[in-house]
């Protein structure tokens, strides 16, 4: 018998560990519409299986909580039972010995508290009547309700034009979203339970890459109604597209010389080539949308005039004004905002940063766009300064990785203090306070706090501020449109209180958000404007969707999109991302589990065929 031995896990431990890994993925893909009480009970049961049984709190407490939750589920409970559940969970949390116990109890306590109304409803109705409303997780997660399993199946069959037509039923920006959508759909993808989510955006990219030119659908007969759309970004143009299809005459008022909004003046072309944006815009304009370029509402024409001249107005002005840091020296020469930089690039003006040390402040996707643009504009050294850790950045991890690959440095845990100027009033250095990561905030996100390390100077020639955007709402506010917390206060259906016929949506209502949220706003407004005008035009698509098949359940890797080599792509503004081959697209599409066809989808038809 040796004194010590190398630790090895045995077959049983390995098996359990593997199950934990699968469980982790499964939980991410979990159905958020499942009955909370049933889910809390399941959670508790699993926690209980982890306990050693030493202490009263876990051994008996977690068991009795299960009994109480079962009483709820089996209609033996009253509202008082809920109080007992909460009190018991609280006691367990406060007195358990280790995390296995007190964390289980804490989650149940919060769960029951946060879902209290649902619990009460369960008790009153004698069951969970809101069950299984979500049939297809990706579609449910998509703000615009795009028929994802439908177009994925079409791509799998090489029917690319049909795929594009199907996407356009809910989203008139298929090409745009193929390049830049944040794809919330992928998060809940049920394929994650088997291996990893479908590369949905990649498949959309395949659809637009391989589709022949696909004209827009036919417009309904003219209704004689006129609608003004303020703002030619994704939200405004989405509304314009659907309203035109419904037979209304749409005029778009755009303050800039070209359409596209933030798609053109916010996203640099290496991420989204301009000619690709133009493809989507051309299809939208082909419906006869009238455009008044270089026309700013509030300067060239007033909203009141539009309300008088048109039957309905849709405000989609976006969030185009930069936010200031509010630190000393921000007025120095060579301090510019992300909005200004990206706007210039959008106008095809490329400032020269050759040889400069450039610092970017912020950790979102816009900060990444600025950093990667700075690299392309010749900066000798590009550094992102961010107050939390890299993993806390709101930017998509893939964006951060790409930036790093292109040579962008990340200085995390640094709070900007002031900008030091040289004798000419130009930027000399950014002074920052080193942070350390600390306690989590209420949402569970770790917060930074000042460390005892001394302030540091980061020498630089230029500072780009990318900490968010505001909305230029002055003109609208003064015209009686309500503004709340810096955004236009529209209702969930896009209407504005006490302003008949005026609707708003997109970034100017949600605050700076994603393209697909902006499209959602336009779609919702189009539907409700149509109703407001006294019509009920339905948007549908006659593409027939292939039946489901079962050859897709064997674990198989996800096809990832790759970018051009970093050393090459960092030198130009050409598109960086490469699409899938047709062969790859067919395989990736075949991984789709067709939740529209299997599971609950088959019971309820799996799709909304018209809206």
């Amino acid at each position: 018998m040796s004194r010590l031995e190398i630790k090895k896990s045995d077959a049983v431990q390995k098996s359990v560990e593997r199950m934990y890994e699968v469980l982790e993925r499964r939980m991410i893909a979990g159905a958020i519409d499942s009955c909370p009480a049933d889910f809390h009970l399941g959670f508790l049961k699993m926690c209980h299986a982890q306990t050693c049984g030493k202490c009263t709190t876990c051994r008996i407490g977690l068991r009795q909580l299960q009994n109480l939750l079962t009483d709820v589920l089996e209609n033996r409970a009253t509202v008082e039972t809920l109080d007992l559940i909460r009190d018991t969970a609280k006691s367990i949390y406060e007195s358990a010995d280790c995390a296995i116990g007190y964390e289980a109890a804490r989650m149940v306590y919060h769960g029951v508290t946060e879902c209290y109304d649902d619990y009460v409803r369960y008790i009153e109705n004698g069951g969970y009547v809101d069950a299984t409303k979500i049939s297809v997780p990706c579609v449910d997660a998509c703000p615009a309700d795009v028929d994802i399993p439908g177009y994925v199946a079409l791509v799998g069959e090489g029917r690319y034009e049909d795929a594009v037509r199907l996407i356009r039923k809910d989203n008139p920006f298929p090409t745009t979203c193929a390049y830049v959508c944040e794809h919330p759909c992928e998060r809940k993808c049920r394929r994650r339970i088997i291996d990893s989510p479908i590369n949905i955006r990649g498949l959309k990219r395949a659809a637009v890459d391989y589709a022949a030119k696909t004209p827009a659908e036919k417009c309904a007969p003219s209704t004689g109604k006129k609608v003004a759309v303020i703002g030619g970004g994704p939200s405004g143009l989405s509304a314009a597209y659907y309203l035109s299809l419904m037979g209304h005459k749409v005029t778009v008022f755009e303050e800039k010389p070209k359409l596209g909004g933030m798609l053109r003046y916010g996203i640099p072309s290496y991420r989204f080539p301009r000619e690709k944006l133009q493809e989507d815009i051309d299809v939208i304009l082909s419906l006869g949308v009238e455009v008044r370029r270089n026309t700013k509402v509030g300067k060239d024409i007033t909203i009141q005039a539009l309300i008088l001249q048109y039957d309905a107005v849709y405000i989609a002005i976006g969030a185009q004004v930069d936010k200031k840091m509010g630190i000393e020296g921000e007025d120095a020469k060579n301090v510019i905002s992300a909005v200004d930089l990206l706007d210039k690039i959008g106008h095809d003006e490329f400032p020269d940063f050759t040889g400069e040390n450039v610092v970017i402040l912020g950790g979102g996707n816009v900060a990444m766009d600025c950093a990667r643009s700075a690299v392309r504009l010749g900066a000798a050294r590009t550094t992102i300064v961010y107050r939390r850790r890299q993993e806390d950045m709101p930017a998509l991890p893939a964006e951060v990785e790409s930036a790093i690959a292109e040579g962008v440095e990340i200085k995390s845990l640094m709070v900007p203090l002031r900008i030091e100027k040289d004798e000419n009033g130009a930027v000399k250095a950014l002074w920052a306070k080193p942070q350390m990561i600390s306690r989590c905030d209420r949402k569970g996100r770790p917060s930074p706090k000042d460390s005892s390390k001394p302030e540091v100077a980061i020498p630089c020639d230029r500072v780009i501020v990318a900490i968010g955007q505001n909305i230029d709402y002055k003109h609208f506010e003064s015209s009686g449109i309500e503004v709340k917390r810096g955004v236009i206060d529209a209702l969930d259906d896009g209407m504005i209180r006490d302003k008949e016929g005026v609707f708003a949506g997109g970034d100017c209502v949600t605050g700076p958000a994603t393209v697909i949220r902006a499209i959602e706003g336009g779609k919702v407004a189009a539907a409700n404007i149509d109703s407001f005008l006294g019509f009920n035009h339905m948007i549908s698509c006659d593409v027939e969707i292939p039946a489901g098949h079962v050859r897709n359940r064997i674990p198989c890797g996800r096809v990832s999109l790759v970018e051009r080599e970093a050393c090459e792509r960092r030198c130009d503004f050409e598109g960086v991302e490469l699409g899938m081959s047709e062969e790859e697209a067919a395989q990736e599409a075949s991984r789709c589990l067709r939740c529209d066809y299997y599971g609950y989808g088959s019971l309820k038809g799996g799709r909304t065929t018209q809206w």
Binding site: C35, G126, G127, G548, H549
Partner: protein, 572 residues
């Protein structure tokens, strides 16, 4: 065409054909439980799973298409084993009191378990418990529900009422009335389509047999029974006999043996309905501006319930004429009771109907001619009376033909077709023509209105009176028609609606044969009976004429109004 091999046999089928359909084409049966063609193709029961070479898991044959080159084994050990396990799992949550179950002998689960040779279930029995309002015509026994979801989809997709919903998640997932309401408070039309499409005994129609037995056994009570048109072409199915093998006269003989004092015919009530409803239509047409259009038929209580819950503002457009069952009852409890000198409360009127909603209709509180007893005391559905026949060990096929009793036992061919979708319209038009022209038209002049569910439209021109008619069956088709009318897309004067697909022939009280829709063949039987009738016009029914002469006066008279008409908006 797609080529594949099923159990070693080459098949070639059009693209889009499911494995199950392809197998059926070459005579291979795959067991199935939840599947209902076009209505419930959801692969929930996992009983139709088959093996496809090259695919690791089994494939449900009901919702997967045959693909080129597929090699399919419907009965391989792997498929048989999984299928058997699944049926055993279903059985473990299905209360197996088969001998005392209404569906004993017509239960698909019972049949499948038998065919699979399942003689034991290795899992503990775990049946759902639930309370149910047993006074409603539709009864749900949760302990037998196998969650096939057929009821959900038949109600949602065919009847567009969506009464049944899936509630709860995980193993508590079950079916209940939408929003967990009590069934009586829901918008259920009581049509019974969910019952006739339930593969097991989870959904049934309320049994009223015991009360009927009590009346039969009570020497102080005179019992009267009426037989609805659609029953006579369907009861044979419960005996496993073809339509032609047994006659209505033999059913009359069987009912006599059971002990009913008078066996009458709902056809009498149907002819009477035509006289009243036809006259009402002509009255409304002559004061067009006073009414909302179209006028709807009112024979079908499922349809009346539907209109009351879905379009309450249109209830006034229903003909005020009572249904044949209720007209019969009202006449029986007055005219007939008087004739035989029996007090109405000593007269028990029983109806044999193809319909579960009739159980509701007879219980509507204003359906009473004498003000205290209901005009129709009990409704028994076709399946229920056939249980009576079996209980008495009566061999209907060996009985002699007996005629209906007098005077409420006569009916014309126009009345018998009430049992098929389009029949009321056709009968009404035959008599309306006579009333306007003073002579009969050829009896089959309006046969275009015959059919199943699809909307049939007919424009007739009688003596300068243009009448735009339409006929639909199933509540989904009714809803479409109403929406078209409300949106101004269609205009009609007279519309016949029956709640069940195919009309009463496909009613919720008819014999059940899972996987078969028998409305069309039953309707064919009704049209055969019409063709063979000596009288084919309601206005020629001699006993109806006598009734008017002796008792009612004329159609739409004050007395007729009192006894034969109703205000559906007052129904409870």
């Amino acid at each position: 065409m797609v080529n594949a091999t099923i159990n070693g046999r080459a098949v070639s089928v059009p693209e889009g054909t499911t494995i199950m359909e392809a197998a059926a084409q070459v005579g291979i049966t795959i067991p199935k439980l939840c599947y209902l063609k076009d209505i419930n193709e959801i692969g929930a029961c996992r009983v139709c799973a088959v093996e496809v070479e090259g695919i690791d898991q089994l494939v449900t044959s009901c919702n997967h298409e045959v693909e080129e080159g597929m090699v399919i084994h419907t009965s391989s050990p792997k498929a048989r084993k999984a299928r058997k396990t699944n049926v055993q799992l279903i059985l473990s949550q299905h209360r197996m009191n088969c001998p005392i179950c209404l569906r004993n002998g017509t239960c698909t689960l019972q049949e499948i378990a038998g065919n699979m040779g399942i003689l034991s279930v290795p899992y503990p029995e775990e049946c759902e418990k639930y309370n149910w309002d047993s006074s409603f015509p539709i009864i749900r026994d949760a302990s037998k529900c196998i969650k096939c979801m057929r009821c959900v989809n038949i109600c949602e997709r065919v009847q567009t009422l969506g009464v049944w919903e899936v509630i709860n998640t995980g193993y508590r997932t079950t079916i209940h009335v939408k929003d967990n309401q009590p069934i009586a408070e829901s918008n259920c039309a009581a049509c019974g389509q969910c019952v006739t499409h339930c593969p097991v005994g989870a959904l049934t129609v309320r049994k009223d047999g015991n009360a009927v037995f009590e009346a039969l056994d009570d020497p102080e009570i005179t019992t009267v029974v009426q037989i609805a048109p659609a029953v006579r072409v369907a009861f044979c199915e419960s005996l496993g006999l073809p339509q032609e093998a047994v006659t209505t006269g033999q059913l009359v003989a069987a009912l006599k043996q059971i002990g009913f004092d008078y066996v009458f015919d709902t056809n009498f009530g149907a002819d009477l309905t035509i006289m009243e409803e036809g006259s009402e239509l002509l009255e409304r047409l002559s004061h067009r501006e006073k009414y909302q259009w179209p006028m709807f038929t009112s024979c079908c209580p499922g349809w009346v319930r539907f209109l009351r819950s879905e379009y309450p503002d249109m209830v006034g457009q229903l003909s005020t004429a009572k249904s044949p069952q209720q007209m019969f009852g009202a006449v029986a409890k007055t005219y007939f009771a008087e004739k035989i000198g029996v007090s109405p409360d000593k007269l028990c009127v029983v109806s044999i109907m193809p319909c579960s909603a009739k159980k509701y209709e007879c219980s509507v509180s204003c359906m009473t001619a004498d003000g205290s007893t209901p005009d129709v005391d009990f409704v028994m559905i076709t399946r229920e009376i056939m249980r009576f026949v079996k209980m008495a060990y009566i061999h209907v096929e060996d009985l002699p033909d007996l005629p209906f009793d007098n005077p409420l036992g006569s009916g014309t061919g126009a009345a018998v077709i009430f049992g098929a979708s389009g029949g009321v319209m056709e009968a009404a038009l035959r008599s309306a023509y006579f009333l306007l022209m003073g002579k009969n038209i050829e009896p089959e002049a309006f046969k275009e209105v015959r059919g199943l569910t699809d909307r049939r439209e007919l424009e007739v021109d009688v003596a300068g009176n243009k009448l735009r008619c339409a006929v639909v069956s199933s509540l989904g088709e009714a809803r479409k028609l109403i929406e078209d009318v409300r949106a101004g897309r269609c205009e009609y004067d007279f519309v016949e609606v029956m709640a069940c697909p195919g009309g009463c022939a496909g009613g919720g009280g008819q014999p059940i044969k899972d996987g078969e829709e028998r409305a069309a063949q039953r309707a064919a039987g009704l049209y055969r009976l019409d063709k063979g009738s000596a009288l084919r016009y309601s206005h020629e029914n001699p006993d109806v004429r006598t009734l008017y002469k002796e008792f009612l006066g004329s159609p739409m008279s004050h007395k007729a109004h009192e006894l034969l008409h109703t205000d559906q908006s007052q129904w409870d």
